[in-house]
């Protein structure tokens, strides 16, 4: 078995240019470099539009895709759109094929070949993320590789949706394909298509989307060959390598400008997948000269559920963050990653054993993004070059939450699809001069969009009852965090459908505030089972359609609704819902920036009018006094209340030494620490 862990461990950093590549780079003058780099970026955009129009997965339709071009030896040269971690992880499967299959007579690499991979231990993320890649030849010369990837919403795992929350090992997670040739002469192999279709609950999506990715790759190949025709194949070799080399030097120079220092934070996730519990995700960032080390060695041990990851996935989510944020003005190439080093402990949930279930790694790793972005803000702030909103934004809400519905839909078709709008409507982080955007986007893909109600309702047996900003969702601060969205859906037009929910952030806040800003709040899942098959149309009997979780809770309390109400963890076993049942979930909220008492009272009133802040929070958290009929601010009383609060802080705050003595005697309850590891610092004997 040629599983090549050395290749995976090497990660995504580029190889040194060969002598031939150095000669080819000399053929690329600065003007052509600029023109053709841009042309390749546009080719990636074009490839994305093709996949979006052809794909079935709701995540493809929302733009959660990746399109990229690699050098002939598999280094990422350029990617311009979609989910960047897919493009980074494409590099390892390509290098695997080059190392193990080029000279293997039963496989080989030829023009028109189509390869596929969705296996994390061969360099991928988790198996719903399926990548198609193809070599690009000019005559007999291999000059590049192209790839198209996207998240598919079904893998044939033990629960529908490809991210089984109760998976105990890799064998519960469904179809996992190492780098595999799935087609020749630009055509998919019939027997492989049959294998794929036989492995998942939604065969139509599997075949359609694989074919769509081939089309997207083929267009990238065509665009590269157009440049070959005009400038020669050696030019393309030189261009692709030069992009990597130039970004590497730009990034190192940018890092050099950041003051040297050590920065630390710790975040927690409140689920292990199979059950609730705290796990620890610490980060120490050491910035020295032109390099940065991200040390996460004291994370909790691997958990028995699916909230685990491998180290290369940690690096991939960092790339996803860097390409969209700190390095968003340079080409997304492997050259960006040379300056960064990552440290984890094998056996921890960030560097799990090969047999581990990792399908919900993508819901654990946003905490890594959260921590890195927070510490970058603390590292960058003291440099005037970086003290700007575009560099100092807190991350999007980092509590991953998702819902998959599976069964026969209202058209009689078998479907398994994810309500992608939950993932793509997270609140944005606050900044030094502005609030976080409400319903800003998706942490892995700045280009992904929140689907319209009609898109979900056309393929799934549901009706949208509400989608509105989550009240008091954004972490309070001088600038508040962006609000996520509260969604309520009713099962309609089918007798039954299965509901799989996953996520965290119900007991512990996930997204950290900065410089006095508060973290994001928690939000649970709500399910209301009507329980009366003769009363499927209960909503029409109410005076008003419910528009929030609170309204449903109120109706049940008053006895106006009878049935089973569950408010609890976002991660649950798959459950069956019947027509007339309701479920509600909230996309992640983000965190605040600065002291809440420094917030402009006028902004609080605007938020109040918008419905993102409650009257309770306006008075009790923001300390704003106003007329609740006219919304007129009483500035004098507001300032008085805020001055009183500052004095109160000085009275109630304790000197650090005194506080720590009392604090360190405390400990969370045992149920919170079941999967935590050694308290308070797991793997404490490791340096």
């Amino acid at each position: 078995m040629p599983l090549d862990l050395e290749l995976v461990k090497r990660g995504f950093r580029p190889e040194k240019p060969s002598e031939f590549e150095v000669k080819c780079m000399e053929r690329v003058d600065p003007v052509d470099f600029s023109i053709y780099t841009r042309r390749l970026e546009l080719a990636c955009y074009e490839s994305r539009e093709i996949l979006k129009k052809l794909g079935i997965s709701t995540l493809i339709q929302a733009g959660d895709t990746a399109h990229s071009i690699y050098t002939s030896n598999g280094d990422l040269s350029l990617a311009e759109v979609g989910t960047y971690m897919h493009v980074v992880t494409g590099s390892i499967p390509i290098k695997f094929v080059l190392k193990h299959y080029v000279d293997e007579p039963t496989v080989g690499v030829r023009d028109g070949d189509i390869f596929f991979c969705n296996e994390a231990i061969y360099g991928g993320i988790h198996n719903p993320d399926m990548i198609v890649f193809m070599p690009v030849f000019h005559k007999e010369q291999l000059i590049a590789w192209v790839a198209a990837a996207a998240h598919e919403t079904e893998t044939g795992a033990t629960q529908p949706g490809g991210m089984p929350t109760f998976a105990k090992s890799r064998y519960d997670e469904g179809l996992k394909v190492p780098p595999l040739k799935i087609g020749e002469n630009f055509k998919l192999r019939k027997d492989i298509v049959e294998l794929f279709e036989n492995s998942v609950r939604y065969p139509l999506m599997m075949t359609n989307d694989t074919a769509a990715k081939v089309v997207a790759c083929t267009r990238l190949r065509d665009r590269l060959l157009e440049i070959v025709e005009k400038k020669g194949w050696e030019f393309v070799i030189g261009l692709l390598r030069k992009i990597i080399e130039s970004t590497s030097s730009t990034v190192k120079e940018r890092i050099r400008k950041i003051p040297d220092g050590t920065f630390r934070c710790v975040t927690f996730v409140d689920t292990a997948g199979s059950e609730e519990g705290l796990v620890r995700l610490p980060l120490t960032l050491v910035k020295k000269g032109s390099s940065m080390v991200f040390d996460m060695t004291h994370a909790s041990p691997q958990v028995p559920g699916s909230y685990n990851s491998f180290q290369h996935q940690v690096e991939a989510v960092f790339a996803s963050l860097a390409f969209q944020y700190f390095l968003n003005d340079v080409p997304a190439s492997a050259g960006c990653l040379e300056a960064f080093e990552f440290r984890t402990t094998h056996g921890s949930l960030l560097d799990a054993n090969l047999e581990a279930a990792i399908s919900n790694s993508v819901y654990l790793l946003p905490q890594v993004i959260n921590s890195i972005q927070l510490l970058l803000i603390k590292a960058l702030y003291s440099s005037e070059d970086f003290r700007k909103d575009e560099f100092l934004a807190l991350p999007l809400g980092s509590a991953g939450r998702g819902v998959t519905l599976s069964g026969r839909n209202q058209w009689g078709k078998n479907v398994t699809n994810t309500l992608v709008v939950i993932g793509n409507s997270k609140g944005g982080g606050a900044r030094p001069n502005s609030d976080g955007l409400d319903s800003a986007g998706f942490y892995y893909s700045g280009y992904a969009t929140a689907a319209d109600c009609e898109l979900d309702e056309s393929s799934l047996p549901i009706v949208t009852l509400w989608r509105k900003f989550s009240i008091d969702g954004g972490g309070p601060g001088k600038f508040r965090g962006g609000s996520g969205v509260s969604f309520g859906w009713l099962v309609a037009n089918v007798d039954k459908v299965s509901l799989t929910t996953r996520g965290s952030g119900t007991r512990f806040p996930h997204t950290l505030g900065v410089f006095g800003g508060y973290p994001s709040p928690t939000r649970p899942l709500l399910v209301f089972k009507n329980g009366d098959s003769n009363n499927k149309e209960w909503i029409s009997k109410l005076d008003q359609v419910p528009d929030s979780e609170l309204r449903i809770i109120e109706l049940v309390r008053k006895g106006e609704l009878r049935g089973e109400l569950m408010v609890g963890a976002n991660t649950n076993p798959t459950m069956n819902l019947s027509e007339g049942d309701l479920f509600a979930i909230c996309s992640a909220n983000s965190a605040g920036y600065g002291d809440v008492l420094d917030r402009d009272p006028r902004s609080v009133i605007e938020d109040l009018k918008l419905g993102v802040v409650s009257s309770w929070a306006a008075l009790n958290v923001y300390k704003v006094v106003y007329d609740d009929k006219t919304f007129e601010i009483d500035y004098s009383k507001t300032e008085e209340l805020r001055a009183h609060e500052r004095e109160k802080r000085k009275r109630q705050g304790k000197p650090y030494g005194e506080f720590v003595k009392e604090w360190e005697a405390k400990r969370p309850p045992a149920d919170a620490l079941k999967h935590y590891g050694e308290w308070p610092i797991p793997f404490s004997k490791i340096d």
């Binding site: 003051p259 040297d260 220092g261 920065f263 630390r264 934070c265 710790v266 927690f268 409140d270 705290l278 020295k288 603390k378 702030y381 003291s382 008091d472 001088k478 119900t506 007991r507 512990f508 806040p509 950290l512 900065v514 410089f515 006095g516 508060y518 973290p519 709040p521 928690t522 939000r523 649970p524 979780e549 609170l550 809770i553 408010v567 609890g568 920036y593 002291d595 008492l597 420094d598 309770w616 958290v621 500052r646 004095e647 109160k648 802080r649 000085k650 109630q652 705050g653 304790k654 000197p655 650090y656 030494g657 720590v660 604090w663 400990r667 969370p668 309850p669 919170a672 308070p680 610092i681």
Partner: protein, 105 residues
């Protein structure tokens, strides 16, 4: 010379002290954790995020699992930083600048 390090913290490079950039109170030695010079308060998260309902999942963080530590300037009461932690978890030394390098540049 004082350099702004956060929204509310500055570092006086000559005297090697942390300062509150709002009221100029000396918070403490710049080679140590600035939090050691702050007043610290353990906030019940329900005072910031009001529970919507009773029970284990209230739409507010569980106070047995999470407390929000608040670090105040002892001079003006400004909330300089927050840190949500499980009760008893060690406090982070979040900012440790290389002062010698900073002085040399």
């Amino acid at each position: 010379m004082a350099i702004k390090v956060t929204e509310y913290l500055a570092v006086d490079l000559d005297k090697e002290n942390w300062l509150c950039s709002k009221c100029n109170t000396i918070i403490g030695p710049a080679r140590k954790n600035y939090k050691e010079g702050c007043l610290v308060y353990e906030r019940d998260p329900r005072e910031i995020f009001a529970p919507f309902i009773e029970g284990k999942h209230t739409f507010s963080p569980d106070p047995d699992w999470c407390r929000i530590l608040e670090f105040y300037c002892p001079g003006c009461g400004t909330l300089m930083e927050t840190e949500p932690l499980p009760p008893g978890h060690p406090i982070s030394h979040d900012i440790e600048l290389d002062l010698d390098k900073l002085k040399a540049t």
